[in-house]
Every structure is written in structure tokens, then in C-alpha cells.
Amino acid sequence: MDSSPSFTRTEEQIMLARTVRELLETHSDPDDIREMSLTLDAFDRDTWRNLAEMGVIGLHVPEVYGGAGYGFVEMAVVFEELGRRVTPVPLVSSFVASTAILAAATEEQRSSLLPSVASGDVVATLAVFEDAHGQPGDSMTTTATRRDGGWVLTGSKRFVTDAPVADLFIVAANVDGGVGLFAVSVDNEGVSVEPVPSLDGTRPLGTVTLSAAPLGTDAYLGGQPSPNAIREALDAGVVALAQEQVGGAQRCLEMSVEYAQSRYQFGRAIGSFQAIKHMCANMLVAVEHAKSVAWHAARSLDDPEEALIAVPLAKSVCSDAYLLVAGDAIQIHGGIGFTWEHDAHLYFKRAKSTSLLFGSLGAYRDRLGDALGA
């Protein structure tokens, strides 16, 4: 349970982190990120291509489906670096969608869908939520009906991450008395995507509407309802976001400390005042705790029993940690921290948004309570 992989990163993982960080620091400019966050379809395609060339996008996808066949912890290293830079690339969406495909699809479907997702040529995302508070499955209205040996999908999916830039949607629909997943191309007849202004402009959101969209037989992943695959994919998403939260929070702490060392008021560096210093110390505690649970969640994804605790634990601890640290970062920076030209708001928005995506904090705390028998 608390054993392998260990908390201490391997040489290979440290190298991977360094390589991704260097790539992002050289190719992803904060001014460009802020600029992109003004649009409804933020997507740094150059960085995406670079990540694809490094083989990072399909890092966790088995080699037979065109990926690199690594574990979740290697993916975790990458997400932490992306969270640190807040570069707009749809890797969380792609990771969640490919996890759903791996969990639900037949061998043929995996072989046909995953290689282009793993290579980054196709941007995939999971489309399961229909209203602001519902969980996938609760009172879902999207329905799949059989027609002419194929399928027709009708319904509307909201808060779909990276929908405005996605090529492939993995859509949850009522079918066969349960909830099944369907692979739907953005080019499919009857599919329309409406971008929705996102609180975190570096992660676009959208509504995907299916108006009697006709699909082939093979669009139905696994040919049967797969509620567990949805759970698994969302869990993977929560764990990916937890790493982002850690990377972002760590960066906020570093920015705050650098600023507190160099900003002088009353003839002293403001970091020499305990009011500021103690805020930084509290931020450090939050960041270190978040690192522990995020990594623990990543290494527990392959262990169903421990994941029941580790995944909602990561949501609970890392969300609160990031919200605290990103908020305090603005406070420590004072007026400049409130301006558009400073990076602090990118992190603050990311902190709030990641705490809400893939299910509420309350819902995950309820799950954690269930897992603990409380």
C-alpha cells in the first residue's frame, strides 16, 4: 500500500521532469499564455507538437496502441510541469479520454482509436456531464438508439474540457438500460460544439450538442454499458489535476518568495516581516502536503482498493492547498498581483477551476467518507 513505486523519484523521472520543464520554459511564453487566455479556444499547438515529438502525449498508452507504455507516475511528472507553466495544451482531456477508451473499448476499437490520440494528431476529450451539479449517470438525458445497424445519439454535454479544440469526443449516453460510452468525431453529422467562456482561460470549456447524430456500430465502446470506465477515467482526471495543482502551487510559492525577497517597503524586504514570512511558511506546508497526496494518488491508480482512498484524498487536499497558495500569492504581491500583466491570476483561476472539474469537492469528500466507512 505505502510501498512501490516509492515517494522518491527515480533518475529517469527527474530527467523527464527536467526535459518537459525546459521545453515549456523555452517554448511557452507567459505573455503568449495570457494572450491565448483571452480567446475561447486556447491551444498552444507548437508546444503540443513538441510534446508529441517527445512521446509525452501517449506516455501511459500501451506500446501496442502506439504509446510509450509507462505508468501513471511518469504521467504525473508531466502534469506537474504543465501545471507549473499553465501552458494551454489539452493533455488532461486527452489522458482522461484515452483512459476511458482503454477501460471500455474492445481490442479493435482500441487499435483504431488510440494510436492517433497517443501521437497527438487527434485531440480527444471525455463528454459526460450535463448539468452543473449532476454526476455522470444521474438523470442523464443523452440517449443512444439503434438504427439501421448503427446508432443515433441525441442530447447535450456541458462543461466538456477542451471541447473547442477537440477532434474526438467520448460521450456518455443512456443505452441498454445503463450508461455506455460512444466515440464521436467532431466532423460527424449532427455534432456541434459551442465554446463557453472558461473561468480558467487556459483550459477551454464547451457544450457538445448531438442532434440525432448518426454513428456506426463500432462507435459503441465495448458494446455494453461501462459505468466503471467512466469512474476510472474521471479518477485519472482528478489525479492528473492534482499534479497540476501541485505544480501550480509550487510555482506560486516560488514567485511569492522571490517577490518577498526583492520587494522593499519601510526600508526592509517585505519577506522580513512575519506577516509575510508566516504566510509563506503556511504555503510551504500546504505545498508539501499536496505533493505527498498527489504522488500517492498517482502511484495508487493501479491499486483499486487504495485508489478508493487516495483519489478523493488528492482531490480534497490538493484543491484546498492550491486555492490557499494561489490566493496568498496574490496577497503577497499586493497591487501588482491583481493586474492582468502579472501571472498570478492565471494560477488563481486554474486553482478554482481545477477544484470544480470532474466533480465537486463535496462529492469527493463523500466518496472518501464512504471509503473510510465513516
Binding site: F7, Q261, H278, N282, V285, E288, H289, K291
Partner: protein, 400 residues
């Protein structure tokens, strides 16, 4: 010795000890004496002084094997101020004679030790202390008051820091002694606390005489020796990995289960707190893994502060979950010395009593404010507060 060779030496010594003194049939004191003589008390100390002269990282292996063999190891908690701190001071600053005299009876629990640092006028700023020691031939005469002294009423020996030169700046004029707690002029009074009990004492020195051969290190070197003691204290407080649901959070979970209210908001808050405590626990595990791998990071420094804040929050929440029962205290209040030893405290305390006791967590062993200064300055590299007293002679520093 190579690391592998050291490991073999230590492992052999453990095997011989357990073979010759089977824990099941050996009296604890006899076992500890044999453990000391085998060099397994503090393996990194020199041979003949309770050690084998190997790397301190083998301490963990000794502890693990002894626990597995069901050997008695509770001397480390019951005499923590001696074995956990005093021993390290004697190893680093003592003479051979001092080590020969004090280490073995300390380890066997024949002598209990206490620590005399804090004073009514020197808490967080312990270097400002004013207990005076004045030289008189081969002896020193001590006058002053110490406070928050754990175990003073049971102790034979005390680790004492005194002011010997008031004309020097505060860090320079101090000298460190081992004082006989049974000597004339030592008065020990229980200090009753928020719960009514007395875990700590006040200790008064009135013309108490200490032979010069009980001085540790040079005259004026007291602060340096005190720093060694405090470093050992931090190792003793932080960094012990515990099982899930250990301590206050386990009590909180049990309290929820037996309250039967089923209130949703209470449950979510409980689970949130459980998560924070688990994050702290995992951080301790991460710190110890990184330490073992030789890549220690900031995760090793956050435990004390996090624990103090969380323990206060969790115990308070537990009392709230009790409803009106939380407005009672089952044990009642009585002014009395602590009757149970430290191994038993968590098991016998009611949640209400634990709640009251927890207020000290952010004060004892370094206040949370001092811990935040340390994290801010030593871990994050923020500048220190301007110091007005640093270069002033101690006697000119304002006090109150």
C-alpha cells in the same frame, strides 16, 4: 568500515544480544544494561560508551530488530530527555569521564534526566535566560528559576544552561552544566496546567552548588551545547511515521461513528480533516524515504508546525461532535501531578481533555510562530527580522 561491513557488525551484535538475553525472560533493566554493553544503545557512539562507532543510520535497524524481537524499548520514551537529548550532548561535548559516569545508568533508566532551559523570562528567546552561575573555586553557585521542566520530580540529573557572564552579548555568556536534582538548594514544584494536572514543574535554584567536573564543554560555550540539545529535540519530536488513523484523528473517526447524527456537513468536515492529517502522515513517510535515499527536502521540516495546527483543529472538532456531552469533562478537574506515563496519555485521555491539552502543541518545543520563522528563513530563504539585542551586553537588553 564499509557500509556493508558496518551492517554485518551491527546485525551480529543484535543477534548475540538477543541470543544471550532472550527478551521474554530477561528483566528490562538487565536487558538494557546488556544492550548498552553490546554497543547497541546508540550504535554511532564510540565503543565502550554504548555504541560501536558506526554510522547513525544503523540506529533504525537496531530499533526495528529489537521491536521485532519484542525487546523492551520504552526506556526511550520514559527517559526521553536523557536518551533522546542528553546522550547526544554528552557524545558531542562531554569528556570521557562524563560519558562513563552518566550514559549507562541513563540508558538502563536507573537515572532519569530532565532539561532546564526555559525560564519565566526566557521562552521563545531562550538565549535571554538569566539563571546565574558564579564560580567559587572548584564549584559553581547557581541561583534562578527554570520552568516547564518535564520529569523534574523524578529526575536524578538535569541539563542546565546558565548565565555566567552578563557583560557579554546574550549568546556568548552562557555555560552548560549537568546538575544533581537531589542537591541542596534545588526546589521542585509542580506547575498545574489547563487540565488541572501537572505534567511539568518549576525548578528553583538557591545557592545550589555544582562541581566544576559537571560542566559540559568550555565556560561560555553554553549556547553551542544548547543548540546540540535542541537539534536532538527536533529529531525526537518530528518524523516518526505512524499508522493511518493514529492519534486524535482516530478518536475523531470513532466519535463520529458513535455519535450517530449522520449530519452531512459534519461528515464532510470530518473527512476534510482526515485528509489533512493523512497528507501530513504521507509527508512524514515521504520525508523519511527521501532522507534514506539521500535527497532530503523541505518535506522534512514541516511536520511540527502542521501537527500542532491540525491536532488543535481535530481535537476541537471532536469535542463539537460530542454535542452537549462536549460541555462536560468526564475526568473532572483536580490539581495533581500526572499519574500516567507518556506512553499511556492518548489512550486514557477523554476527547475533552485532549482538546485542552492540545493548546500546548503550538507552544511547546518551539512555538508555531518560531517554527514559521524557521521555515521562512532557513527553508525558504527569506530575510530575518532586524535584531535589536544581538550585539548588546546581556545586562543591557530590555526585559519584562
Amino acid at each position: 568500515m564499509t557500509e556493508h561491513r558496518e551492517q554485518t557488525v551491527v546485525a551480529d551484535a543484535i543477534d548475540r544480544l538477543i541470543d544471550s538475553y532472550p527478551p521474554a525472560t530477561t528483566e528490562a533493566k538487565v536487558f538494557w544494561g546488556a544492550q548498552f554493553d553490546a554497543g547497541l544503545a546508540w550504535v554511532d557512539f564510540p565503543e565502550g560508551h554504548g555504541g560501536l562507532g558506526v554510522s547513525p543510520k544503523h540506529r533504525e535497524m537496531v530499533q526495528r530488530h529489537l521491536v521485532e524481537a519484542d525487546a523492551p524499548t520504552w526506556n526511550r520514551t520514559a527517559n526521553v530527555l536523557g536518551i533522546g537529548m542528553g546522550a547526544g550532548v554528552l557524545a558531542a561535548h562531554g569528556t570521557d569521564e562524563q560519558r562513563m559516569r552518566w550514559l549507562r545508568p541513563m540508558f538502563t533508566m536507573d537515572d532519569i534526566w530532565c532539561q532546564l532551559f526555559s525560564e519565566p523570562g526566557a521562552g521563545s528567546d531562550v538565549a535571554g535566560l538569566s539563571t546565574r552561575a558564579e564560580r567559587d573555586g572548584d564549584e559553581w553557585i547557581v541561583n534562578g528559576q527554570k520552568v516547564w521542566t518535564t520529569l523534574a520530580h523524578l529526575a536524578k540529573w538535569g541539563l542546565l544552561v546558565t548565565r555566567t557572564d552578563p557583560d557579554q552579548p546574550k549568546h556568548k555568556g552562557m555555560t552548560y552544566f549537568v546538575v544533581d536534582m537531589e542537591a541542596e538548594g534545588v526546589e521542585i514544584l509542580p506547575l498545574y496546567q489547563i487540565t488541572g494536572e501537572a505534567e511539568f514543574n518549576e525548578v528553583f535554584f538557591s545557592d545550589t552548588r555544582i562541581p566544576d567536573d559537571q560542566r559540559i564543554d568550555d565556560v561560555g560555550a553554553g549556547w553551542r551545547v544548547a543548540m546540540t540539545t535542541l537539534m536532538n529535540e527536533r529529531v525526537a519530536i518530528g518524523g516518526n511515521p505512524v499508522p493511518r488513523n493514529h492519534g486524535a484523528i482516530g478518536v475523531a473517526m470513532d466519535t463520529w461513528a458513535s455519535s450517530g447524527t449522520g449530519d452531512q456537513a459534519t461528515r464532510r468536515e470530518l473527512v476534510r480533516l482526515w485528509g489533512e492529517v493523512e497528507a501530513m502522515r504521507l509527508t512524514t513517510l515521504r520525508a523519511s524515504e527521501n532522507m534514506k535515499a539521500g535527497v532530503p527536502g523541505p518535506e522534512g521540516s514541516t511536520g511540527k508546525l502542521a501537527w500542532a495546527d491540525l491536532n488543535k483543529e481535530v481535537t476541537s472538532f471532536t469535542v463539537s461532535m460530542l454535542g452537549l456531552e462536549g460541555a462536560t469533562i468526564p475526568e473532572g478537574y483536580a490539581l495533581e501531578a500526572t499519574t500516567y506515563d507518556t506512553r499511556e496519555i492518548e489512550r486514557v485521555m477523554s476527547p475533552q481533555r485532549h482538546f485542552l491539552r492540545s493548546r500546548a502543541n503550538s507552544i511547546e518545543g518551539g512555538t508555531s510562530e518560531i517554527m514559521r520563522n524557521i521555515l521562512g528563513e532557513r527553508v525558504l530563504g527569506l530575510p530575518g527580522e532586524p535584531r535589536v539585542d544581538k550585539d548588546l551586553p546581556w545586562k543591557e537588553v530590555p526585559r519584562g
